[in-house]
């Protein structure tokens, strides 16, 4: 981003980056913790807890960490959606392209319509002239 973005836009983009990093980091850390718990590297002897309690605690911790991973995943999805929205709303070059294209389209359409209307008018005018002639020279008025 070499353009001079407003301060808040800059901050927003930075927040997107940090969100991405945080979520990925959270996924990784939680996964590592789960693996560590599964390996049982933490010495049980240090803990004052009964073994069963320890096992229960580990179970819950794993569940919470798994839920954290899921949350981080969903947060990434939200981030993707947010970035998409930001891009759509702030991508002025593409909007300008769309506007140019639209205006070109409408201009050609307008020209087409004008031409058709003109030719129609010419036809009608010619016919009207004949019809007026015919009407006013007829006896049925």
């Amino acid at each position: 981003m070499h353009r001079n973005l407003p301060q808040n836009k800059e901050a927003l983009l930075k927040s997107y980056t940090t969100r991405l990093k945080e979520d990925v980091k959270s996924m990784l850390e939680n996964f590592e913790e789960i693996i560590r718990l599964a390996k049982g590297e933490r010495g049980e002897n240090e803990s004052q807890l009964n073994r069963m309690t320890q096992i229960e605690q580990d179970t819950f911790e794993m569940q919470v960490r798994a839920a954290n991973i899921v949350r981080a995943g969903e947060s990434l999805m939200k981030l993707v959606s947010d970035i998409k929205q930001y891009l759509i709303l702030n991508d002025f070059p593409s909007v300008n392209d769309a506007i140019t294209q639209n205006s070109k389209l409408f201009r050609t359409k307008q020209q087409e319509c004008d031409q058709k209307l003109m030719s129609l008018r010419d036809d009608i005018a010619a016919d009207l002239y004949d019809l007026e002639d015919e009407y006013f020279t007829s006896i049925y008025k």
Binding site: I69, A98, K141
Partner: protein, 645 residues
């Protein structure tokens, strides 16, 4: 007693039965001696058991048989050959050793002089594997289930969108962005549908909000019309004052009709008032376009109302509620109303007292004028943004092109003042309405004259090239069969309040909006045409024009125009035709011949030569003559008169 029965009493068996012989005799074991019994009991003692057990046994032993320990020891010594107390002695010795060691250890531990006791790590109980493995397995299983559920949720939402062809919010948003102005304000997406960027300066904002459509509703919509276009994943919310449908209704009315009830016809209200599928959810594009139209109509009406109040017309314009009344021509009013039908409560905000007006068929909504109003406001918008160059690049304002030229052209104060005058929309639309009425009236007049006057044909050709305030009609006056000989054409420019007629002779006449003037002018032209046409026919027939006058001074005074006449002579000069044309009477034709047939010499005129002078003119009864029209009759008459008699 004689009846007494002998009862034999037998003592219970004191000794155990050793054997029962075949004849039923029981052989008893010899009872144990006292010492044998004691030794047997002593062997039963288990010294490894706890003391109280031991005590119990001892008590049992005491209670069962009452042996004295002292006696036992005496007996043991006595029965040393069997050594029944061997085990007892060994165990006691062991116990003594252990007690001594314990005493030593306790001493050492207590004294702490030589040795310190340290707790020894108990040997690791290696019983963790199964319980812990199961526990971990369960924990990992639960964690995996949580992860899988999360994945499943993501995948389900994704596949549902793909498989069911659900519209994507972002695609729709992109389309919306390409067509409308959007921006993000905190957490909401806000759009603007006003004409600000196109040059509008209307104060009302056209803000709308974009939200994501709830999925259930989309599903419902998709299931309802599976074949139809996919519903949008977007939902736009426009402010309530911009909802619904609005349009500007323009009516032209004669004042004779009851002005109070002369309001907008309900049919006009209904015609564009309903969008297709009003109740259903509209596509956002249609919804926004409708809202934009509402905003535009409101701006237009507000501007018109402001102008109506500001303008000081001779007959002041009235603004009542949602209606503006302006006088176009005397007796004719222009009604401009704002009809806004915001589909919620189905009550239109239009003027009250809307009645079905079946009778006022002609006061229909004028689409052309409505369109003109739209065009005018758009022109204003365009002018607001498109300043002619050169103008300062930073400032939105700049002098107009005429004002730029005013300096070099040395414009005076009057010209500058003229420049600063701008026609308001209302003035322009009133002019257009005036022109519309003038045109309609002129058409009517020309058509009725063409119907009334059969002899010279009156052919009017309306020009296809015209402007909203000016149109042009060409009128040809000619006789059937003689259109080559003579035709009179004149051009009428229909303006806003005046007519400009350019006649055949190049004279320009300005007529007012009173159409009797046009009518009179056409009638004069008709008779003028007849006179010139007769002369042209006469020229063709070889007749000689003796005299002609477009404005005869003789005869009674005509209400319109003057009588005209001409005098034609036959090729050999013996016949004369005099034609007098008075618009109020018609055409009179007289003939005379020379030599006159009824010449009689009198006292005053005796000579025969005077008979060559023309005789008295006799009127011809034109209506009895043969011929399709006046010129035809005249041609026949001339042919008849020029034949040698």
């Amino acid at each position: 007693m004689a009846n007494s029965v002998n009862i034999s009493i037998e003592a219970p068996i004191e000794n155990q039965i050793q054997e029962i012989t075949y004849d039923g005799q029981e052989i008893y074991q010899a009872p144990l001696s006292m010492s044998e019994n004691l030794a047997r009991l002593a062997q039963k003692i288990d010294f490894s058991k706890s003391e109280d057990e031991y005590c119990n046994i001892k008590k049992e032993g005491e209670s069962s048989s009452d042996p004295k320990p002292d006696d036992d020891s005496k007996d043991a010594g006595y029965q040393s050959n069997q050594w029944p107390w061997e085990s007892v002695r060994n165990k006691l010795r062991n116990a003594l050793t252990e007690v001594c060691v314990l005493a030593d250890v306790l001493n050492i531990a207590k004294e702490k002089r030589y040795m310190v006791l340290d707790p020894v790590q108990p040997e690791q109980a290696d019983n963790r594997p199964m319980v812990q493995v199961y526990g971990r397995k369960k924990a990992l299983g639960a964690a995996a289930a949580v992860l899988l559920a999360g994945v499943e949720r993501l995948r389900a939402s994704e596949t549902m969108r793909v498989s069911r062809n659900m519209p994507d919010f972002h695609i729709d948003l992109l389309r919306l962005r390409q067509n409308w102005r959007l921006k993000k304000v905190s957490n909401t997406i806000v759009g603007d549908l006003s004409y600000r960027t196109a040059g509008s300066k209307f104060s009302q904002t056209g803000v709308f909000e974009v939200t994501k459509a709830p999925e259930e509703q989309m599903m419902a919509a998709m299931s309802m019309n599976a074949a139809g276009p996919a519903p949008s994943a977007l939902r736009v919310t426009v402010p309530p004052e911009l909802q619904g449908v609005a349009f500007i209704s323009v009516l032209c009315q004669k004042e004779q009709e009851d002005v109070v009830t002369a309001t907008l016809s309900s049919s006009a209200l209904n015609c564009p008032g309903t969008l297709p599928g009003d109740g259903a959810e509209l596509h956002w594009q249609q919804k926004l376009e409708a809202a934009q139209n509402v905003l535009f109509c409101k701006e237009l009406f507000a501007r018109l109302a402001a102008e109506a109040v500001q303008l000081d017309a001779s007959i002041p314009h009235m603004v009542v509620g949602n209606q503006i009344m302006a006088t176009v021509l005397p007796g004719i009013q222009l009604l401009i109303g704002l009809c806004h039908n915001n589909g919620q409560n189905n009550t239109n905000n239009g003027p009250e007292g809307v009645k079905p007006e079946g009778a006022a068929g002609k006061s229909d909504h004028d689409h052309v004028l409505e369109h003109s109003l739209h065009q005018l406001l758009r022109a204003v918008h365009h002018a607001n943004t498109h300043y002619p160059f050169p103008h300062p690049a930073t400032g939105p304002l700049g002098p107009s092109k005429r004002r730029c030229l005013a300096g070099p052209m040395a414009a005076d104060r009057y010209e500058l003042l003229e420049m600063s005058k701008e026609q308001s929309l209302l003035e322009q639309i009133i002019q257009q309405a005036q022109h519309f009425f003038m045109r309609r009236r002129s058409e009517y007049v020309l058509d009725t004259i063409a119907k009334e006057v059969k002899d010279p044909l009156i052919v009017s050709h309306w020009n296809a090239l015209n402007s909203p305030t000016q149109s042009c009609v060409k009128i040809n006056i000619m006789a059937y069969g003689y259109d080559v000989v003579c035709r009179t054409s004149l051009v009428v420019h229909v303006g806003e309040k005046t007519l400009k007629c350019i006649c055949r002779d190049g004279k320009v006449r300005h007529l007012s909006y009173e159409l009797q003037e046009l009518r009179d002018l056409i009638y004069c032209q008709i008779y003028q045409h007849q006179m010139t046409a007769v002369q042209a026919v006469g020229r063709c027939m070889g007749w000689q024009l003796l005299a002609s006058s477009a404005h005869l001074g003789s005869g009674p005074v005509e209400p319109l125009g003057n009588a005209s006449s001409c005098l034609l002579a036959s090729p050999n000069g013996d016949r004369m035709i005099a034609i007098r044309c008075e618009p109020s009477v018609g055409i009179q034709v007289f003939i005379a011949q020379s030599p006159r047939k009824d010449f009689f010499s009198s006292e005053l005129v005796q000579d025969k030569k005077w008979e060559n002078l023309g005789g008295a003119f006799k009127e011809i009864k034109l209506d009895k003559m043969e011929g399709k029209n006046f010129l035809n009759k005249m041609e026949l008459l001339m042919a008849c008169l020029s034949s040698p008699s």
